[in-house]
């Protein structure tokens, strides 16, 4: 098969021939297969097509540039990768071009020109001298035996001898042809569907990708594609319920293009159904297609589901994502920093911004995420237990200060039960991509109010002082009492500003090291007493009887509240945003594709399957009966070869031989019978 590669190199050849030689060589083909395999790994190790900011964060500015230049953020669309694929197609094409004529000839040619010596050299052979048989009869019997064994044959009479050349399974060669043609066909189809066209247009300066965050209508013409300008694309659009769009976004590197559609898709309704476990069961978009030209005034109603796309005029529309379409929220902003404890009532919607002014200047609250369900691993579960719990609705938002710095928050609406106590959970992170750290606000009567009042009171220096003075039992040394109250107020202040860490810092600063543990313990216990008194006052105001001491629940609440207070300085927000009501508006993420190459690729698939099976499971087999008259009889030499599946053929040959032997009434010759395990 590899005649071409094995041929020696003469001194001078035309360039075309050399190129043909190079591209058609088996070594190149095998190298390409391996190279593509290895290159493909890159794109699976490095997540592709992420926002470019993520890459900068990951690699630093220098390597970010280098990797970008190498096209590693979109390996499979990069010039070099497509180039290698092109090489493979070319190489396979050249291989086909050179092999096909040979193979077609092989398929139909009976090889009647064989030498006796070469037949005798075959591994599968038998030879008899048949006394009393004349050539005609031997020929007739041998050829009919061949036919009985499924072989077609052709007879050639050379005067002194005759050769009946039989063959079977000539179509085996089609296997090679189909398989390799399939590689070329699929490759071409794939290139048609790839982003080659966009690249070409971009290179010619006909389009430019847009990197700004614009509404679709504002995107300039240079970044817009009219329907039909490229033969294949794959774009996305997020449609809130009740809205319509006649375009999709094509993401490209760190920007996008707008591909216009010749029709509009309206999202009537988006539904998510859930299993009893809370996992999503189906995502369904009820859509209307508006297309005056083809549908008139009557829109087309359709349902799109995962695994059930809608194909309209060659455009396939898929359910691919979902999100928020501007859910309406009511929120209570509970102050965390001052002595005020009444919440500020707010209204907003996802995608919108609220402005708040506080002591720290003005803040922007960017509401960007609402979720109805949050199915998370059960926090109390043992590791490996695959239990999930639905933590209910949540709101995610960014808090941006005047300098533009933002922190992200993620608040659950309802309190969650953790270790048998209820908490409002709010997550915070300073950098996108980091894990959230969570603040657990203890809930009383399903409300964060008690904690927030407690917190406000702790901040209220006036009332704290009054309380301390009132609550302290009269002592014999009033100045000492005054000093103690000062210490208590100071410790409280430190705690409010910096948590427990601030207390230990202070201890370190004022106490000699040998007495440090003792002093810290004392400070903490003083602080705790102070906090307890404030807490008791809050309870009293609520009407909870505290004269007999507090119950276990209040005690636990107090401990949780102190932990939460200690964490507040790191929380970074001057308020706690509690979602009190919502009206969900869903959005459905639809993907619209148009791929002109699909049919081509599918034809390639069919060829590939047919080819592989023909190649593996059929074999081109040849059997020769060579016969010549000898004194008193005829000499018959039987020999055969198979291009594939030698072991099977050895057995088949033994059978042919046995059939012949029976017809001629001789013994089969045992030597070529294969050991059965082969």
């Amino acid at each position: 098969m590899n005649e071409a590669t094995a041929r020696e190199t003469p001194s001078r050849r035309p360039l075309g021939w050399v190129l043909l030689e190079f591209f058609g060589s088996m070594n190149l083909a095998i190298s390409l297969l391996v190279i593509i395999a290895v290159a493909s790994v890159i794109g699976t190790v490095l997540q592709q097509n992420q926002p470019y900011a993520n890459y900068v964060l990951k690699f630093g500015p220098f390597w970010f540039e280098v990797f970008g230049w190498l096209g590693l953020y979109d390996v499979y669309g990069s010039g070099w990768f497509i180039g290698i694929l092109g090489f493979l197609i070319l190489s396979t094409g050249v291989c086909l071009y050179r092999q096909v004529p040979v193979m077609l000839r092989e398929m139909v040619r009976f090889r009647t020109q064989v030498q006796l010596d070469s037949l005798r050299g075959f591994q599968q052979r038998a030879e008899w001298l048949l006394p009393g048989w004349d050539g005609e009869r031997v020929t007739a019997e041998a050829t009919s035996a061949l036919r009985a064994c499924g072989y077609r044959w052709r007879l050639q009479n050379y005067g002194d001898h005759r050769v009946a050349a039989g063959m079977r399974g000539g179509y085996h060669r089609l296997g090679y042809l189909f398989t390799h043609a399939a590689v070329v066909v699929i490759g071409i189809g794939g290139l048609m569907d790839g982003n080659l066209w966009l690249k070409l247009k971009e290179w010619r300066g006909q389009i430019a990708i847009e990197r700004r965050d614009l509404a679709s209508g504002e995107v300039p013409a240079i970044s817009r594609l009219q329907p039909g300008t490229i033969p294949a694309f794959r774009g996305n659009v997020m449609l809130p319920e009740g809205s319509a769009a006649n375009f999709v976004f094509l993401r490209l590197r760190d920007g996008y293009l707008v591909q216009e559609l010749p029709f509009a898709i309206e999202l009537k309704e988006f539904q998510v159904a859930y299993y009893d476990t809370g996992q999503p069961k189906t995502f369904i978009s009820q859509v209307r297609i508006h297309d005056r030209e083809h549908l008139g005034d009557q829109p087309l109603e359709a349902t799109i589901q995962v695994n059930h796309p809608l194909v309209y005029r060659g455009y396939a529309i898929y359910q691919s994502d979902f999100g928020d379409g501007g859910s309406k929220l009511e929120l209570s902003a509970w102050p965390l920093a001052g002595s005020r404890s009444e919440p500020l009532e707010l209204k907003g919607e996802i995608g919108g911004t609220l402005k708040l002014t506080g002591s720290a200047g003005s803040l922007r609250v960017e509401l960007d995420d609402f979720r109805l369900f949050n199915l998370l691993p059960e926090p109390d579960a043992k590791p490996g237990d695959r239990k999930f719990r639905n933590f209910g609705p949540s709101v995610g938002f960014k808090l941006r200060d005047a300098a533009g710095q933002a922190r992200e928050y993620f608040n659950y609406m309802a309190p969650a039960r953790l270790e048998d106590r209820l908490f409002f959970i709010t997550g915070m992170r300073t950098r996108p991509g980091d894990a959230f750290t969570y603040l657990h606000i203890p809930a009383a009567n399903n409300s964060p109010e008690r904690f927030l009042k407690f917190n406000a009171r702790v901040h209220d220096t006036e009332r704290v002082r009054a309380l301390l003075e009132r609550a302290t039992p009269a002592a014999d040394k009033p100045e000492f009492q005054h000093d103690l109250n000062l210490v208590r107020a100071n410790l409280l202040d430190l705690f409010v500003k910096g948590g427990f860490a601030a207390i230990t810092e202070r201890a370190k600063a004022v106490v000699p090291p040998d007495r440090l543990p003792e002093a810290t313990k004392l400070y903490l216990s003083i602080l705790r007493d102070t906090l307890a008194e404030i807490f008791l006052e809050i309870l009293r105001e609520e009407g909870v009887p505290v004269e007999q001491g507090v119950g276990a629940a209040e005690d636990a609440f107090f401990n949780d509240a102190v932990s939460a207070l200690a964490a507040l300085p790191d929380y970074g927000a001057p308020f706690f945003l509690q979602m009190t009501r919502f009206q969900q508006v869903e959005a459905s993420g639809l993907q619209v594709t148009y791929s002109g190459g699909t049919t081509v690729v599918y034809i390639g698939f069919a060829l590939l399957i047919a080819g592989v099976f023909i190649m593996f499971y059929t074999a081109h087999r040849r059997v020769w009966a060579w016969l010549a008259a000898e004194e008193g009889g005829t000499r018959l030499v039987l020999a055969g070869t198979s291009g594939r599946r030698q072991a099977d053929f050895a057995r088949e040959f033994a059978r042919i031989e046995a059939v012949m032997a029976r017809r001629f009434g001789v013994e089969p010759q045992p030597q070529p019978v294969p050991p059965t395990h082969l």
């Binding site: 593509i36 695994n307 691919s320 490996g384 698939f605 593996f616 046995a658 029976r662 050991p675």
Partner: protein
């Protein structure tokens, strides 16, 4: 153990396949048709056109399998019998799996998988025992153990299929939907492929090696069950709710199973080469399977695996075209499937066009298993993508 010419002659004078059908063959075909027809009557209201097509295809494939390889018939009948008993015992009450003796200790899917696991490990040891002791009886015992394990495994899968419906009509699905289930499928298919070659080549020398891969899968399964509790039946995420899953996944696992088998034969090959170099007359050199045999079966397994994997990848592409909006998205799982495929394409080219044989090809087959393993395990564990079903 050469086959005599009489035997060959006997089976020779049968020019056309249909004329060579005997009463038993016809009976087999009719039996499968009847069974499939009955199942069709029972479940017709719940099947759509695609599923009816898949059932018809599976019926024909099963008939063909039994005609091509006789032991498949007894296997099918035993598995069907056991599964029917289990279904009959269950009725409509899943709770019986805790209380009914037969179900609890034998036919309930977890019990069946435990039997399968135990029997496969025993079979592995027995095969090696037979290899070293050269005892024919031990060898036959190993084969029997492997068959029994496979029967239990497939029965367990069928029963699990039913159990998933007993859990809730909307939860029911064919048990090839997560890593736990496909590992069982992997063990079964690898075992059946091995048993086929054992039968066709009339040697049990390769058994221990082939079963080693299965024992590895069993070890993973046990860890996955006991440590990760992965055996619970989970409802299907939307992306998997498609008839394509029924054909795409099994086709893939014929490929994986065949590649794993080839790799284990590669190990045997390399071992034998090493042994022959060191102690050409030692016990191992005498009992290990011969090199030509290993080379031949390794090639056949890779060829079969390649063909199955080609089909599976194409089915995957067709499914992707329906689920994700394009037949190819360079998602990590797809990409790794391509890598596996290209790897074996290169292997086949070297062998067929360059005539490479021997240790290098055996090494390559072994390394190929790691590539394959990454494609079917590593990708799910380490890489994210459409196949990890994070969101939709």
């Amino acid at each position: 153990m050469a086959v005599t010419h009489e035997v060959m002659l006997e089976s020779w004078d049968q020019p056309a396949p249909w004329r060579s059908l005997r009463a038993w063959d016809v009976l087999w075909g009719l039996l499968v048709l009847a069974g499939s027809g009955y199942a069709y009557m029972l479940y017709r209201p719940y099947m759509d056109g695609y599923e009816v097509a898949i059932q018809s295809g599976a019926t024909l494939a099963l008939i063909a399998w039994g005609l091509y390889w006789k032991p498949a018939r007894a296997f099918t009948l035993v598995v069907t019998g056991l599964a029917v008993i289990a279904l009959w015992r269950y009725g409509n009450d899943l709770g019986l799996r805790r209380s009914n003796f037969l179900l609890k200790y034998f036919l309930e899917s977890q019990a069946a998988f435990m039997w399968m696991s135990t029997l496969y490990v025993l079979a592995t040891l027995t095969y090696f025992g037979a290899l070293l002791s050269r005892s024919d009886f031990t060898g036959r015992t190993a084969t029997a153990l492997t068959w029994s394990a496979t029967v239990m495994g497939l029965t367990g899968l069928l029963v699990r299929w039913r159990e998933s419906y007993l859990l809730g009509a909307d939860i029911g699905h064919i048990p090839v939907s997560n890593l736990y289930e496909v590992f069982i499928l992997f063990a079964l298919i690898t075992a059946l492929l091995y048993l086929f070659y054992e039968d066709r080549h009339r040697t049990r020398a390769m058994g221990g090696f082939a079963l080693l891969a299965i024992s590895g899968a069993v070890a993973f399964l046990l860890w996955y069950t006991l440590d990760r509790q992965a055996h619970h039946i989970q409802p299907l995420i939307p992306a998997l709710q498609s008839y394509w899953m029924k054909i795409h996944v099994p086709a893939n696992f014929i490929g994986y199973g065949a590649f794993a088998l080839a790799a284990m034969l590669g190990v045997a090959y390399l071992l034998r080469v090493a042994v022959e170099a060191r102690q050409p007359t030692g016990l191992l050199a005498r009992v290990l399977p011969p090199l030509e045999l290993l080379d031949d079966v390794m090639y056949k397994a890779i060829a079969l695996g390649f063909a199955a994997f080609t089909i599976a990848t194409i089915l995957g592409a067709l499914w992707a075209a329906e689920a994700w909006g394009g037949y190819w998205s360079w998602d990590p799982k797809e990409t790794w499937a391509l890598i596996v495929w290209l790897n074996y394409a290169a292997w086949l080219h070297l062998r067929l066009t360059k005539g490479w044989r021997g240790a290098p090809m055996a090494w390559w087959a072994v390394i190929g298993l790691f590539v394959t393993l990454f494609a079917f395990l590593g990708v799910n564990m380490f890489l994210s993508g459409l196949h990890s079903y994070g969101t939709l």
